[in-house]
């Protein structure tokens, strides 16, 4: 089942990186994962061709607006996970993917620009909840965060919390291993060591576990 849609109209917010980290970590933890590459720039497809796609993961490429709902439907079954990666634009494809989501994750860097544009995804989710008369769980994850959080980061975090936005912890820190996924393909465990691998794997696994908790109804704080 759970259909996880990674959405932000902000380009370069870290959507595809989040999708690959989540997909590979959930697969490593034992879930069959289908990843839908809905971005005409084909980031996920390029990742899948770079190295060996880890066991338990299937990547479907080039899913368009007309196909998205009927592509998701048959995959939306108990005991498996679907992850949808979207282009960083405001499109009907994004809104249709969200209509089929069990969880929408909006990655954003802790900058005012990312937060402002990312908020458009949150507004869209609210409208869809009303139109479709169903709750669409959603959460924000900060990406490319630094060891020491900037004032701007703290401010944005406070403001999102005040608005009742669910923030996924741990955030995805800026790490060479994460950007190297698109260079080597595969997952963090198959990649030649890049920086502090243990910390990178711990970060990605902790994030995936926090997402899993939300899928099975154990929301974060």
């Amino acid at each position: 089942m759970p259909v996880i849609v990674i959405a932000s109209p902000k380009g370069g917010a870290g959507k595809s990186t989040t999708a690959v980290l989540l997909g590979t970590e959930l697969a490593h933890a034992g879930a069959p994962v289908t990843m839908l590459d809905c971005d005409p720039n084909r980031s996920l497809t390029l990742w899948s061709q770079r190295g060996t796609v880890p066991a338990g993961i299937e990547v479907l490429s080039g899913v368009t607006e007309a196909e998205i709902v009927r592509t998701i439907k048959p995959l939306d079954q108990d005991g498996q996970v679907v992850i949808v990666d979207l282009e960083g634009v405001a499109s009907r494809l994004v809104s249709r993917a969200i209509s089929q989501a069990d969880l929408v994750i909006t990655p954003m860097r802790a900058t005012t620009l990312d937060a402002t544009i990312g908020a458009r995804a949150l507004a869209l989710i609210a409208e869809e909840e009303e139109t479709l008369d169903r709750r669409i769980p959603h959460a924000v994850v900060f990406t490319m965060t630094k060891g020491v959080r900037s004032k701007q980061h703290v401010g944005i975090e406070h403001s999102l919390r005040r608005q009742g936005v669910d923030l996924i912890e741990p955030a995805l820190m800026e790490r060479v291993a994460f950007s190297a996924l698109f260079e080597f393909g595969g997952d963090l465990r198959s990649m030649p060591p890049q920086g502090n691998m243990e910390a990178a794997i711990g970060n990605a696994a902790g994030f995936a576990q926090a997402v899993y908790g939300r899928l099975v109804g154990e929301p974060g704080r």
Partner: protein, 98 residues
């Protein structure tokens, strides 16, 4: 590799949930989304301008301040931004001995 898993997933707990996907619901959602600027953005067959003959275009997304600097420099020299990227690539190749 079968090193220990940081956490394990209980597949029995991953349950599917009903979601409306009938044409009327989707149309209503499309309309609301369009009101927020989430509109159709797929290439429209043959309409409009022919694609540029210069293939393999790079569509780099860079930080806004850098984009502004690159755009300003291209304007100053009267070249397209791709020319700057071609020059940067040459410098990069020289530097890394490719």
């Amino acid at each position: 590799m079968s090193e220990e898993r940081p956490f394990a997933i209980d597949l029995g707990r991953l349950k599917t949930r009903e979601k409306p996907s009938d044409a009327a619901s989707l149309r209503a959602a499309d309309e609301r989304a369009a009101g927020l600027g989430f509109v159709e953005r797929e290439p429209q067959g043959k309409r409009g301008r022919k694609p540029s003959p210069r293939t393999d275009q790079v569509h780099a997304k860079v930080l806004p301040p850098i984009a502004t600097e690159i755009a300003a420099e291209a304007r100053r020299r009267g070249v397209v931004q791709g020319v700057l990227i071609e020059e940067m690539w040459q410098l990069y190749k020289d530097k890394s001995g490719i």
